[in-house]
């Protein structure tokens, strides 16, 4: 039966207090839904031959491009060389599970064998608004295959024209309608209807559910739904705690809750996942064996964090504080396309004559000068160590900015602004610090997003 072969997640390292208690994740200035999707996808595919993935479905309400497919870029960054089919599912927080449904259908129909579904969001509301106070940033991914350890036995989808959050093309911020109305006429009845429909079609009762992973815009609505569904909040709920440790991650939340549920699952468990947005849908999952997930997952990324102590330090990260206008440096789409295996695919080269691993891709070996005798080496999952760094006190969203050189496994060097660095704690003793690769957004020169790989202090 079709189901989940492996799963993964990504939570940004930065956290901001979520009143009255709790925290929420904050994507750094150089993170967006594409970069976070890449992180979660790599986490999900750890140990899998990436070239067997034959479709990538990306779900988000905050795709960095209104026109231009994000899934194609993600597939390129993942260095997938199997000509994958790519689709973006956008416009609704329920896009993630709609992508999941499409993936299941593709595998069932036999048109794809391994479909990567990845959902990511970086939703922004006006400073101090409800959206701002409850939103978290993050991503989750599942790999859908036949004969999977976690079978998706049943689904129930319900489309309903109920508007609760929206954003027009020209809007900077997500808007929301009155919460009381959303709760009583939208979220609660639609989610109940979807779960009830699922259980009825499967011939099951609420008591048969081991864990329920239920999307909710905030912890209060989540608690109310759990109560209404007559679920035991202590025993039968998974992922609800994410609403007060990560925040509402929009499209990514339902899958994140599912990943959290699977991380604690045992063979024989029955998991229900339900999602909301322009209707509601629910899925019945049977755990036959633990999914084959070798990545960090929610449990790896959650404790690895840096607190933002001051709301003023948070504002520039989300561009909520207008800084001095600066012309952004120009980029070249032609050059980017030409060098996509290095810039996006994170490939260096190893000289087949002398064995020297080097980055970026070279034509002539820097060591032995042999011409055109290289093999590509993907560096995105290489571990590294910090060789040297400086802390630059110029104006930048992170202050100070840490410039770094790291040595990756195999001896290759990588130069970058060290992502997510806690500069205040870095000194001579930081030399040799373990680092790992992360995909980030640079400036938007020439009007397009300029993405690049960086190193960051190792997490999880």
């Amino acid at each position: 039966m079709v189901g989940i072969a492996s799963c993964g997640a990504y939570l940004p390292v930065l956290r901001l207090a979520l009143p009255p208690s709790g925290e929420r994740t904050v994507g750094n200035y150089d993170e967006d839904s594409i970069t976070m999707a890449v992180e979660a996808a790599i986490d999900c595919l750890k140990g899998t031959d990436r070239n067997q993935v034959d479709a990538v479905y990306f779900a988000s309400t905050t795709p960095p491009y209104a026109e231009k497919q994000c899934a194609a870029l993600i597939a390129c960054v993942l260095d997938l060389q199997n000509n994958p089919n790519t689709v973006d599912f956008i416009g609704s927080t329920r896009s993630a599970t709609m992508a999941l449904k499409a993936a299941m259908d593709a595998v069932k129909a036999g048109s794809a064998k391994k479909v990567l579904v990845v959902a990511a969001d970086r939703r922004v509301g006006p400073a101090q608004s409800d959206i701002d106070k409850t939103s978290g940033d993050g991503a989750a991914a599942v790999l859908i295959t036949d004969q999977a350890p976690v079978a998706i036995e049943n689904s129930y989808c319900l489309t309903d024209e109920f508007t609760f959050n929206w954003r027009k093309p020209e809007d900077e911020f997500v808007r929301g309608w009155e919460e009381r109305f959303i709760m009583t006429e939208g979220y609660q009845p639609l989610m109940k209807k979807a779960v009830a429909g699922l259980l009825k079609s499967a011939g099951m009762k609420t008591a048969d559910i081991t864990k329920a992973a239920l999307y909710a815009p905030n912890a209060r609505q989540h608690q109310a739904l759990v109560k209404d569904l007559k679920l035991d909040p202590k025993a039968q709920v998974a992922g609800g705690a994410l609403l007060s440790s990560v925040g509402n991650t929009g499209t990514a939340l339902a899958l994140m809750m599912l990943v959290a549920a699977l991380e604690g699952a045992k063979p024989g468990d029955t998991i229900v996942m339900a999602n909301f947005g322009d209707g509601a849908d629910a899925y019945l999952l049977k755990v036959k064996a633990k999914p084959d997930s070798k990545g960090k997952g929610i449990k790896g990324f959650l404790p690895s964090k840096l607190m933002i102590s001051n709301y003023m330090d948070y504002l520039p990260l989300k561009d909520l504080l207008k800084a001095e206008e600066k012309g952004e440096p120009a980029g070249s789409l032609t050059a980017l396309w030409r060098e996509r295996r290095a810039v996006y695919g994170c490939n260096g080269v190893r000289c087949k004559t002398c064995g020297t691993l080097q980055y970026p891709i070279q034509r002539v070996c820097c060591q032995c000068q042999t011409k055109d005798n290289f093999e590509l080496v993907n560096l995105s999952e290489k571990k590294g160590k910090l060789v040297t760094f400086t802390k630059e006190m110029g104006p930048s969203p992170e202050y100070p900015r840490v410039w770094s050189v790291s040595e990756l496994e195999g001896g290759c060097r990588f130069f970058c602004v060290l992502a997510d660095a806690d500069a205040s704690k870095m000194d001579e003793k930081s030399m040799g610090m373990p680092v790992e690769m992360t995909f980030r957004r640079l400036s938007g020169g020439s009007g397009f997003h300029n993405y690049i790989w960086k190193c960051r202090p190792a997490r999880g």
């Binding site: 952004e328 440096p329 070249s332 760094f389 802390k391 006190m393 001579e428």
Partner: protein, 388 residues
């Protein structure tokens, strides 16, 4: 391979006041530097048979020199080689004469940085500059390229920010004696150590300024030189090295040295027949874009053994009055760094010292000296040896 030693001579030099020359354009500075050099050589623009002009970003093509000087159609080549631009302009002009093609040529370098409206070098302050895959140029700032060598050097050899501060104090002391310097004020060790951090561990006084300026040289053959003046300055050696990788991508790089300087120095020493530079040279100009660059360059040039720079700094060996004075005019620390002009400005100081015209900075009877420039990430270096 041949040597350039004593084949060509400098018979005239000019140098503008370096500084924030708000009231002077690039063309004004080019005219001032060139005409000082013409006057010094006792010639006029009509005597120039060919010219080389160096600028990093302030102009393009030979036309940026022929236009302000109205050189009447003679060949002019524009040279660019990062921070070595000025010295490589002199180098190419010297080879033009050495080839026998020309008898009298002009080498002029300039940079007009203060028209850009930014505090730093070209590029947006604070912008994380886009990766440009077509030229495989990484992002980064000069402070980051050089600052990354400080912490590694400190750890390996036990030097500290205080040694860097001593270099800054020395160069600002010398600069206070140089009327054409951008900064002509002494600083104290405490001022240097307590100044705001720019690129940790480098502070304000570890960095050079952003400055406008131009400098020029008239070069001729050894046969003609003495017809123009009794004290021409001869070129004894020229070395240029362009590296294979940015240091930050170079597998195994130790961040304790820069290969380009080592290789350019070896070439120049071979030309000049120098085997013990610390003993044989009388003065040295080092590319002190950052104090850590000067410190590491002492060792890359072989002026002291690896790891010993701190002891030489503490002993005052490189001060005026020390065994081998370095940056007697205050270096980039006092003159700033108008990229295309810098190498020629450093040659100007040696030239004046050899001719006994260095005023309050004058050393006793110097005969031979060296100028080193280091540019890029750093990825190119020039070393020139000049003498009587």
């Amino acid at each position: 391979m041949e040597s350039i030693k004593d084949k060509v001579a400098i018979i005239g030099m000019g140098c503008t006041k370096f500084g924030e020359n708000w009231d002077k354009g690039a063309n004004d500075m080019i005219v001032e530097a060139a005409y000082e050099a013409f006057e010094d050589a006792g010639i006029g623009p009509k005597d120039i048979q060919a010219a080389w002009v160096g600028t990093n970003t302030s102009g393009k093509a030979g036309f940026c020199l022929s236009y302000p000087l109205k050189l009447k159609g003679i060949p002019v080549t524009r040279v660019e080689n990062y921070c070595c631009t000025g010295m490589d302009t002199l180098r190419n002009a010297a080879f033009g004469v050495a080839s026998g093609m020309y008898d009298i040529v002009l080498a002029l370098g300039f940079e007009k940085l203060k028209d850009l409206g930014t505090g730093g070098l070209v590029g947006q302050a604070g912008a994380e500059i886009a990766y440009r895959p077509s030229i495989q140029a990484p992002s980064g700032t000069p402070g980051s390229y050089f600052g990354m060598a400080a912490i590694t050097y400190f750890q390996k050899y036990g030097a500290s920010r205080e040694h860097l501060a001593k270099i800054a104090v020395k160069n600002h002391h010398n600069g206070a004696l140089a009327p054409k310097a951008h900064f002509q004020k002494e600083i104290t060790l405490d001022q240097a150590l307590n100044a705001p951090i720019i690129t940790w561990p480098l502070g304000l006084f570890d960095c050079c300024g952003v400055t406008d300026g131009a400098a020029a040289a008239i070069i001729t053959t050894k046969e003609l030189a003495k017809k123009f003046r009794p004290d021409p300055v001869y070129i004894k050696g020229l070395g240029l090295s362009a590296d294979t990788m940015h240091h930050m991508y170079k597998p195994g790089h130790d961040y304790l040295h820069w290969d380009a300087t080592v290789m350019a120095a070896a070439e120049a020493y071979r030309h000049a027949g120098i085997t013990n530079p610390f003993k044989e040279l009388d003065l040295v100009g080092i590319h002190d874009c950052f104090t850590i660059t000067e410190l590491i360059s002492y060792e890359d040039l072989g002026l002291c053994p690896r790891g010993e720079a701190k002891n030489y700094i503490d002993s005052g060996a490189f001060e005026i009055g020390g065994e081998l004075p370095v940056n007697t005019d205050g270096g980039l620390k006092a003159f700033g760094h108008p990229v295309g002009a810098t190498g020629l400005r450093m040659a100007y100081e040696l030239y004046k010292q050899f001719q006994g015209k260095a005023e309050k900075r004058q050393l006793k009877d110097p005969q031979i000296g060296l100028v080193q420039n280091l540019g890029g990430h750093p990825s190119v270096a020039t070393v020139a040896i000049l003498g009587l």
